[in-house]
C-alpha cells in the first residue's frame, strides 16, 4: 500500500544533544562546542565564550615578564573551583609549590563594580544594554557572545561559569587536597615520554562520546621549552609532543594550555608551534616609567602588560573569527582582579572638531583627551 507516508527525512533531530545538562563550569556553544572558562571573564568574552573542549591553547611568553603566570593561575584556579581535574607540568623542581599561589574566587558582588567606569557599566548591566545599545561596540562585546551579555556572569545556579579571581587571596586548601590535582616536573626528564604518558592517562579519563559532558579536564604546561629542561634542544621531539597532545585533547573532553618563550626557539620552530595552536595568545611586557607610552595610553599606570590574541579556536566550522581588536592591556584592578581592556586606535585627526574617544571609550576610562585609547 502506497500510503502517503509523511516524508520523514533520514535525518532525525538528536534532541538529546541540543540541550545537554552540562556539568558545572561548562557552557554550550555554537557548532556543538562546549566551552570551559579561562578564569578571566574578559578573556572569555573576547574568545566568544571561553576555551572549547578539545582545543589546544598556546601562550607565547615574554622573557621579560611573568604575565603568562597570571593566565595560568586563573586557568588552574577556575578548574579547581569547578572541580575539574587538573594536570600541571612545569620545569620547577616542585611544581606543587605553584599551587599555593593560585588565587581564590572573589565574592560575586565584586563582579559588577568596575571602579574605573562606575556610571556607564552599571547602567548598562542593569538595563541589559537595551537602552544604551549604541555603546555596545565600545565595550568590545562581539556578536559571538550569543548567550547575551549576562551569559558569562551567570548568577543562576550555585556555580558561576566564570569567576573573578582575587589574586591577593590564595585558594582554599581544600580545593587543592582533592585527588584530582596532578603535578609533573619536566626538568629532569631526558625526553618527553614521561610527560606524554601522563597526559595520555589524564586525558583518557574524559573520553569524548556523543553523550553529554559530565566532566572536563584541564592540562596546563608551563614554559614548555625552558632551557633547564634536558629535552629543550630536541626541537622535533617537542613539536611531535605538541602534535600528540593536540590529538589526545581532541578526542577527549579536555583543554590543554601550553606556555612557551618564543625567543628560545629557532624561528622556524616558533612558527610551527604557533601553527599547532587552536587558540594562540601572547603576552608582552611594557616598559616602566615610559613617558611616551604614558601619554599615548590612558590608564598606563595600572597596566602591567599587553595581551595579544592571534588566533581563536574554530572547531567544527569554516568561518574564521575576526576580532574587532586583538591587543588588550592587562590591568590589575585594585591590584587584585585581572581585567583586559582593549586599546582603541587614536582618532586620525586630533585637531579638528569631533574626536571619537571622548565618551564610552573602550578602555572604560573616564578621562577624555585628544589621544584617547
Amino acid at each position: 500500500m502506497a500510503a502517503a507516508k509523511t516524508r520523514a527525512s533520514s535525518f532525525s533531530r538528536n534532541l538529546s544533544a541540543a540541550a545537554p545538562s552540562q556539568g558545572p563550569g561548562l557552557k554550550c556553544g555554537p557548532n556543538g562546542l562546549v566551552f570551559l572558562s579561562s578564569g578571566i571573564p574578559d578573556l572569555d568574552k573576547i574568545l566568544g565564550g571561553g576555551f572549547p573542549l578539545g582545543s589546544l591553547v598556546m601562550v607565547m611568553e615574554d622573557a621579560e615578564a611573568p604575565h603568562h603566570m597570571l593566565l595560568l593561575r586563573n586557568f588552574m584556579a577556575q578548574g579547581l573551583v569547578h572541580n575539574q581535574p587538573l594536570l600541571y607540568a612545569s620545569p620547577a623542581r616542585d611544581p606543587r609549590g605553584f599551587l599555593g599561589t593560585l588565587p581564590s574566587p572573589a565574592a560575586s558582588k565584586d563582579n559588577k563594580s568596575y571602579e574605573t567606569d562606575p556610571d556607564q557599566s552599571k547602567n548598562l548591566q542593569e538595563k541589559g544594554l537595551r537602552i544604551a545599545w549604541q555603546y555596545k561596540k565600545y565595550f568590545g562585546e562581539n556578536q559571538l557572545n550569543f548567550d547575551g551579555q549576562k551569559g558569562s556572569l551567570s548568577l543562576d545556579g550555585k556555580h558561576e561559569y566564570s569567576n573573578e579571581f582575587d589574586l591577593r587571596k590564595p585558594l582554599d586548601r581544600h580545593f587543592l587536597n582533592r585527588q584530582h590535582v596532578d603535578c609533573v616536573s619536566i626538568q629532569d626528564s631526558p625526553d618527553l615520554s614521561v610527560l606524554r604518558d601522563r597526559c595520555s592517562t589524564f586525558s583518557s579519563q574524559f573520553p569524548r562520546n556523543d553523550g553529554s559532558v559530565s566532566c572536563a579536564g584541564r592540562i596546563a604546561i608551563q614554559s614548555f621549552c625552558a632551557p633547564q629542561c634536558a629535552y629543550s634542544n630536541m626541537e622535533w621531539d617537542m613539536l611531535s609532543f605538541i602534535r600528540s597532545l593536540k590529538s589526545m585533547v581532541r578526542s577527549s573532553n579536555s583543554v590543554a594550555i601550553i606556555t612557551f618563550p618564543p625567543s628560545l626557539l629557532s624561528p622556524s620552530f616558533c612558527k610551527r608551534w604557533q601553527h599547532m595552536a587552536d587558540t594562540l595568545l601572547s603576552v608582552k611586557a611594557i616598559p616602566d616609567e615610559d613617558k611616551d607610552l604614558a601619554q599615548l595610553l590612558t590608564g598606563y599606570q595600572e597596566m602591567v602588560g599587553f595581551l595579544n590574541v592571534h588566533k581563536v579556536a574554530r572547531i567544527n566550522t569554516q568561518v574564521p573569527v575576526i576580532l574587532e581588536a586583538t591587543t588588550f592591556s592587562i590591568k590589575l584592578q585594585k591590584r587584585r582582579y585581572l581585567v583586559l581592556e582593549c586599546l582603541n586606535q587614536a582618532p586620525v585627526d586630533g585637531s579638528s572638531g569631533t574626536s571619537y574617544g571622548t565618551s564610552g571609550s573602550c578602555s572604560g576610562s573616564s578621562k577624555a583627551g585628544n589621544l584617547d585609547f
Binding site: 622573557a63 621579560e64 615578564a65 611573568p66 604575565h67 620545569p91 620547577a92 623542581r93 626538568q187 625552558a226 632551557p227 633547564q228 629542561c229 634536558a230 629543550s232 634542544n233 618563550p261 625567543s263 628560545l264 629557532s266 611586557a285 611594557i286 616598559p287 616602566d288 616609567e289 602591567v304 602588560g305
Partner: protein, 348 residues
C-alpha cells in the same frame, strides 16, 4: 646606573622569590664586560663585609682567571681579603678544571709544584667542570660553609659562563643557574658573558634566566665589518674607550625598566684614555706612525698583564712620555704641507 644594579644585588631576594640574577654581556666591539664584572664584584664584597647586604657571604666561581687574581683585585680596591676569608670564598675552576694535573700526578710523570699543592684558606679547587650537578653541589657547599645553614644567604659570582659552556651543555648550565636562583639560601647571583662567542640562542637563554641584563654596546657602529679603512679604525678605537651601557631590569611589578648610559663609569680611566686618543687626521703630520696604536695597547696591556683593579695606577705610570695631543696647527713648528699651496712655488 651601576649603583642601581649593585643595590638590587645587595638587597637580594624576597621570601619565596627567585634570587635576582644579573647577566653582564659584552662583545669585541665593546669589550668592557670584565671591568663591569670587577666593579660589581668589589661593590658587592664591600657591602657584604660591611654587613649592609642581605647576603652574608660570597662565593666566586673562577673560570677564566685564577682566584689569586680576584683576591688581588679586591685588595687593590681596598677590601681586606685576609680577614674576609670568612666571608669570601673562591671556587677554583681555573687551575685544573678537568682534573688533568691530579691524574698526571698519579701516574707519577708529573711533579706538582709546591705552590699548587698548597691549598690556601680562601680557595677550593674544583676538578670536574663537565658535571654541572657536581659544580652546583660544590658551590652550595662552599656557600653553606660560609654562612651556615638555616636562613642566612650567600651570593654567587661566576666570572665566565663562556667557559662553563665549553665544557657542558646549554641545558645543564641553565639548570645550574636556575637551581642556584631558586635555592633558599642564595641571595643574588651574577655572571659575565661574551655574547659573540656564542650563537644568539645562548644569549637569549641567559637573558631569559636573569632578572637584569647589563649589555655593553659600542657607541658608534662601524659602517661595515672591514677594519682596514682608516675611518672605521678610529671608530673602533673610540669604541674601545667609550661605550654604551644598556641595562634592562625585570621589575617585580612585571614591567621592564630600561636604562642607557652613554659612557662607562670608568671616569679615571676615561680621562687618561682621552689623553691617549690620537685624532685620525693628526697622525698624518706626526711622523710617528706607531701612535695610532697607543690607546689600544695601553688598554690591552692593562687588561692582560696586570689586575684590573690596579688600572688607575698602572695607567698613570704608562702614560708618561706617550700619547699627548699635539696641535700642530697653532704651533710654531709648522709642517711644510699644512697650510701652503705647493703650487705657489711654481714660476710660470
Amino acid at each position: 646606573m651601576a649603583e642601581s644594579i649593585c643595590r638590587l644585588l645587595r638587597d637580594g631576594a624576597l621570601e619565596g622569590e627567585h634570587a635576582p640574577a644579573l647577566t653582564i654581556k659584552d662583545s669585541i666591539a665593546s669589550p668592557f664586560g670584565f671591568h663591569v664584572f670587577a666593579h660589581v664584584l668589589s661593590q658587592l664584597s664591600s657591602f657584604i663585609l660591611a654587613g649592609k647586604s642581605q647576603s652574608r657571604g660570597l662565593v666566586v666561581v673562577c673560570f677564566s682567571r685564577s682566584p689569586s687574581f680576584y683576591l688581588e683585585l679586591l685588595k687593590n680596591k681596598g677590601i681586606d681579603v685576609v680577614s674576609s676569608d670568612k666571608r669570601i670564598q673562591t671556587l677554583d675552576c681555573y687551575s685544573d678544571p678537568l682534573g688533568w694535573k691530579s691524574r698526571l700526578t698519579e701516574t707519577g710523570n708529573f711533579m706538582a709544584c709546591s705552590h699548587e699543592t698548597s691549598i690556601s684558606r680562601t680557595t677550593n679547587v674544583f676538578k670536574d667542570v663537565k658535571h654541572m650537578d657536581k659544580l652546583y653541589n660544590s658551590i652550595v657547599e662552599l656557600g653553606k660553609g660560609l654562612v651556615g645553614g638555616g636562613k642566612i644567604r650567600f651570593s654567587v659570582a661566576i666570572d665566565s659562563v663562556d667557559e662553563m659552556l665549553r665544557h657542558a651543555s646549554m641545558s645543564s648550565v641553565s639548570g645550574l643557574l636556575s637551581k642556584l636562583r631558586s635555592h633558599d639560601q642564595v641571595s643574588s647571583i651574577f655572571w659575565l658573558l661574551h655574547s659573540d662567542l656564542h650563537e644568539a640562542k645562548v644569549t637569549a637563554v641567559l637573558e631569559y634566566l636573569s632578572s637584569m641584563v647589563a649589555g655593553l654596546e659600542p657607541l658608534h657602529q662601524p659602517a661595515n665589518g672591514q677594519r682596514g679603512d682608516m675611518e672605521n679604525f678610529s671608530l673602533i678605537e673610540h669604541n674601545l674607550k667609550k661605550g654604551k651601557f644598556h641595562v634592562r631590569f625585570k621589575r617585580r611589578n612585571g614591567r621592564v625598566r630600561v636604562m642607557v648610559q652613554f659612557s662607562l663609569q670608568l671616569s679615571e680611566k676615561e680621562r687618561i684614555d682621552k689623553a691617549n686618543v690620537v685624532l685620525p687626521f693628526e697622525h698624518q703630520g706626526n711622523g710617528k706612525p706607531i701612535q695610532i696604536y697607543d690607546g689600544r695597547r695601553s688598554l690591552a696591556d692593562s687588561k692582560h698583564e696586570r689586575p684590573v683593579g690596579a688600572t688607575e695606577t698602572v695607567q698613570t705610570s704608562e702614560d708618561s712620555g706617550r700619547g699627548e695631543i699635539i696641535y700642530y696647527r697653532d704651533s710654531d713648528d709648522e709642517m711644510p704641507d699644512s697650510d701652503e699651496d705647493p703650487d705657489d712655488d711654481l714660476d710660470i
